[in-house]
């Protein structure tokens, strides 16, 4: 079928992550006293900030997932002639064989972030079969729950059209959507 991609180490994409400062318009003490917005002036800033922290002009948010969540992170936009494309942040992948069904959420850098499989004893215990429609549907809702717990709310879901016709994959995908408000692209 498709060439299996080797697990890549997480690529560090150096992107501009700086934010410029624009100081907010009101200061508490002035607003409370006069009931109007204080104008921003250098003198006023220094007075009120003597005891408190002085914010820096450039701010860098170290959270590596922040830019992706805001939509500013650079995606892998090459490979547009290949299928499945790679312009995603997190991709949902289903794997199925006669014994078990597995759902994985994969980051474009290669890391498998969240996974749910019917081979886990805790899940296995509650299912009749590891590879039937009920298993697929339940794996869909379990992966949705785990994604929300891990703060992943948008996923790319690219699946072969023929594969999608089978009830198992479509059932699990539908369950993922219904169960959570995960945006599936």
């Amino acid at each position: 079928m498709f060439a299996k991609t080797r697990g890549m180490t997480a690529q560090t994409v150096t992107v501009q992550t700086t934010f410029c400062l624009r100081i907010a318009c009101y200061s508490a003490s002035v607003a409370a006293a006069t009931g109007k917005e204080a104008t921003t002036s250098r003198g006023a800033d220094e007075e009120s900030c003597v005891q408190q922290e002085v914010p820096s002009a450039e701010f860098i948010n170290r959270n590596p997932r922040n830019l992706e969540q805001l939509g500013h992170a650079v995606r892998d936009k090459g490979w547009y002639m290949q299928w499945p494309r790679r312009n995603y942040y997190h991709r949902l992948r289903f794997k199925r064989n006669s014994h078990r069904t597995t759902a994985e959420v994969v980051h474009y850098g290669g890391r498998v972030v969240v996974t749910a499989s019917t081979s886990e004893p805790a899940i296995m215990n509650q299912l009749y079969s590891g590879s039937d429609v009920a298993a697929a549907a339940n794996i869909g809702s379990i992966i949705a729950q785990r994604c929300l717990q891990a703060g992943i709310v948008q996923l790319d879901f690219t699946v072969d059209a023929d594969q999608f016709k089978t009830e198992r994959v479509s059932m699990s995908a539908v369950h993922v959507c219904e169960r959570s408000r995960l945006a599936l692209f």
């Binding site: 992107v15 508490a28 009120s48 299912l127 891990a150």
Partner: protein, 359 residues
């Protein structure tokens, strides 16, 4: 990479195999389960699942998340990690009935985290623990520093009330315009009772400068006596309660940031560009804020605040042209295209009909 945490209980692979075999045999015999599966009514109880998932499965799951969010790297440095051996259950009171849980990176709003959460973990009676809540992303002045939002030390067993409050709880303060900040709870297991006098902040601590914290330095200071045992973290972005805290509690101006986009790759502007539509060419070199301002003015121009949200017409293309300007019915094509875009609410003009999303 150094493992600075508690060792996980060793997994017996033989036992696991036997367990799985027992489960498979059991479920084959369970005809009710089979019926439910065949009728597609079988629903896994996810809460029970979470209770059942203990030991290395749970630990691996949380650790993967923590590594994905760079938590170990930003808190303990690039060479340390730990397996969360103790499952930490954290819940903020949302209202009388509901709670907001903290898992491994879930998104919460600062308004949900106004007061200290309920924490639960399994601990033996004579053990001592500490809990620290830090914000590695929110520091106003120093990018590499963190803010300490909560610190309770020398907790006996799992009763938080028995612990010494070294830093009172402050709600998350993700700065406006900076996106999602991480807030990390770290549970440390103590060897003995520790004197945290040097870590004590004034009660109540209303100075962000005083709340400056470095987990690496803190850990280094007490590393002989404490071991990270559990972790839980969430993400929060700005809401209006953050402004209130800045103004009322901290008594300072709230900084508002905006994203510094990388410069666009466009050619240097020439005085006589060849084969370029002049209006689009010139707009490329204008400040995007000026263009946005024009669109916003248009949005407000022919509407009163009482008339509600402006709506796109169902058929914008059927609007006649001659009614625009009776003296000059023949409009140049570029101007017609621009007017059509305004009517359709396409491209930059979509903000006439859509409320611009906030920072």
């Amino acid at each position: 990479m150094v493992n600075i945490g508690l060792p996980l209980p060793k997994e017996n692979k033989e036992k696991l195999k036997e367990l799985k075999k027992a489960i498979i045999d059991g479920r084959r015999a369970n005809h009710l389960l089979e019926q439910a599966a065949r009728h597609r009514t079988l629903k896994v109880d996810i809460d029970q699942l979470e209770n059942d998932m203990k030991g290395s499965a749970f630990s691996k799951h949380v650790r993967t998340s923590a590594e994905h969010y760079g938590v170990y790297k930003d808190l303990f440095g690039p060479h340390a990690y730990f397996n969360p051996a103790v499952a930490l259950s954290i819940a903020f009171d949302y209202d009388d009935d509901a709670v907001s849980h903290v898992f491994n990176g879930n998104m919460l709003k600062p308004a949900e985290c106004v007061s200290a959460p309920h924490i639960h973990y399994e601990a033996e009676k004579d053990t001592l623990w500490s809990i620290v809540l830090t914000a590695p992303d929110s520091h106003l002045a120093d990018n590499k520093a963190e803010y300490l939002h909560w610190f309770v030390g020398n907790i006996e067993g799992s009763t938080i009330d028995t612990g010494e409050l070294l830093c009172d709880f402050l709600q998350p303060l993700p700065l406006r315009g900076t996106g999602w900040h991480r807030y990390v709870f770290v549970l440390y297991k103590q060897e003995r009772r520790i004197d945290f006098a040097s870590e004590k902040r004034t009660q109540p601590c209303k100075s962000l400068k005083e709340r400056t914290f470095h987990t690496y330095d803190f850990y280094k200071r007490y590393e002989d006596d404490i071991t990270p045992a559990g972790i839980g973290f969430f993400q929060a972005d700005w809401d209006s309660s953050v402004s209130d805290i800045f103004h009322k509690t901290l008594d300072m101006k709230e900084p508002v940031y905006e994203f510094d986009s990388p410069p666009l790759h466009i050619a240097i502007q020439r005085q006589v560009p060849h084969k370029q539509p002049f209006n689009l060419y010139l707009d490329r070199y204008r400040d995007p804020k000026d263009i946005a301002k024009e669109v916003l003015t248009k949005r407000f121009s022919d509407r009163s605040p009482f008339s509600g949200e402006p709506r796109r017409r169902q058929f914008p293309g059927i609007m006649p042209w001659s009614s625009l300007n009776d003296r000059d019915p023949l409009l140049p094509s570029w101007r017609k295209a621009q007017i059509q875009k305004e009517r359709d609410g396409r491209q930059r003009y979509r903000h006439i009909y859509e409320n611009r999303p906030g920072p």
